[in-house]
């Protein structure tokens, strides 16, 4: 059975439907947000690194290497993902979200110093609440790296670990 596979890298997102799976791996403190509309059978996934844009962050170069990935920030990434799922035929009332990641990989680093994973999760939950999108399931926190795979035909998300 021919199934398309889309690989999403850190900071990126993808949306689609039909016989397609969207995969992303190496999720540590990053947060992967999956949004799926059960009725329209469309959805997508965003792999974000930082909770929110630092105020005043302006880029001064136009060098393509400095191009900002679309889902770098959790809040902006979710809003963009929701818009894209809508464009693909989804509607907010039927969207459900799932969260993956937000881990604290190095156990010996005090949590308060490097709570980037937890902050990513907090912002993800808050942004989804603003958009009135319920969180259907979470596979988050701890000290383990994760891989996530979304099957766009049925919205099933497979989360695996290697350790």
């Amino acid at each position: 059975m021919a199934t398309n596979e889309i690989d999403v890298r850190m900071g990126e997102m993808a949306v689609g439907s039909g016989k397609t799976t969207i995969k992303t791996g190496g999720i540590g403190s990053c947060v992967v947000v999956v949004i799926y509309d059960e009725e329209a059978k469309v959805g997508g996934l965003a792999h974000s690194m930082l909770p929110t844009r630092k105020t005043g962050m302006v880029l001064t170069t136009t060098d393509p290497i400095d191009k900002e990935p679309v889902a770098k920030y959790v809040d902006e990434g979710i809003n963009r993902l929701v818009d894209e799922v809508k464009k693909a035929g989804g509607s907010c009332e039927h969207m459900q979200a799932r969260l993956i990641g937000g881990a604290h990989m190095f156990k010996s680093i005090p949590q308060k110093e490097s709570g980037i994973g937890e902050r990513n999760l907090e912002v993800a939950r808050a942004t989804l609440a603003e958009q009135n999108i319920p969180i259907h399931a979470e596979e988050v926190s701890g000290s383990v790296g994760r891989l996530a795979e979304l099957d766009l035909q049925n919205g099933i998300v497979n989360v695996t670990t290697k350790m």
Binding site: R9, M10, G11, E12, G25, G26, I27, G28, S29, C30, M49, L50, K54, M57, L59, T61, D63, P64, I65, D66, K67, E68, P69, K72, A103, M105, F106, K107, S108, I109, S114, I116, G117, S143, V144, G145, R146, L147, K162, M163
Partner: protein, 204 residues
């Protein structure tokens, strides 16, 4: 950061070389084995490209990292395939069956000591050469998918930039199947600081 000239990049590589050269000598003394290192590679890439450059997002890797603070802020880390890390720990402890996954076990402790020595000796050389201060944190260790180990480090680096500058040195231990990579990532504003320290050093 993207405006670095070829010359500036070479100068930075030279600085890294000074630090890491010292580290390989220290490691060689610690292991009583010959340690070979390559000259540093400098890579500058967009955020999305970094995990691939470091060796593949989903590859299970052992990472020992230290945070650098003060004038030269950034992160230094050592990455090894887990079997290489296990052999290194075995060589240091004399226990061939040593477990490097067990939290706070002897295996992790031995590898952290390697991290300590590599970071300490390279930073001592760097700070002497540049007349800049640097404090290295205690080493932290974890084994998991490479992408998951470094995303937190990268995230911190790209708070004010979308590009990451990475220096890499590959090392191998003679007669042992042990090899790994030593990475040095400076915070975005630090590269300029290092270059100006070099300029004032050479103009005097």
């Amino acid at each position: 950061m993207t405006q670095l000239t070829e010359l500036e990049r070479d100068q930075l590589k030279e600085v890294v070389n000074i630090g890491v050269g010292n580290a390989s000598t220290a490691l060689s003394q610690m292991l009583r084995k010959q340690v070979t290192i390559t000259t540093p590679d400098a890579f500058i890439d967009n955020i999305e490209g970094i995990p691939t450059f470091l060796g593949g997002t989903d590859v299970v890797t052992t990472a020992i990292l230290s945070d650098l603070t003060n004038d030269i802020s950034g992160t230094m880390f050592l990455m090894l395939p887990p079997d290489s890390a296990q052999k290194l720990a075995a060589l240091l402890t004399g226990d061939n069956e040593i477990d490097i996954i067990k939290e706070d076990g002897m295996g992790q402790s031995a590898l952290k000591e390697v991290g300590n020595i590599l970071t300490g000796s390279s930073m001592t050389a760097l700070s002497r050469f540049l007349d800049l201060n640097v404090i290295a944190s205690v080493p932290h260790i974890a084994t998991d998918m490479l992408g998951s180990l470094i995303d937190g480090v990268i995230a911190r680096m790209v708070e004010e930039s979308n590009t990451v500058l990475v220096f890499r040195v590959h090392f191998t231990v003679k007669d042992e199947a042990i090899g790994g990579d030593l990475y040095l990532l400076f915070d975005p504003e630090v590269t300029k600081k290092i270059l100006s320290a070099m300029h004032s050093k050479f103009s005097n």
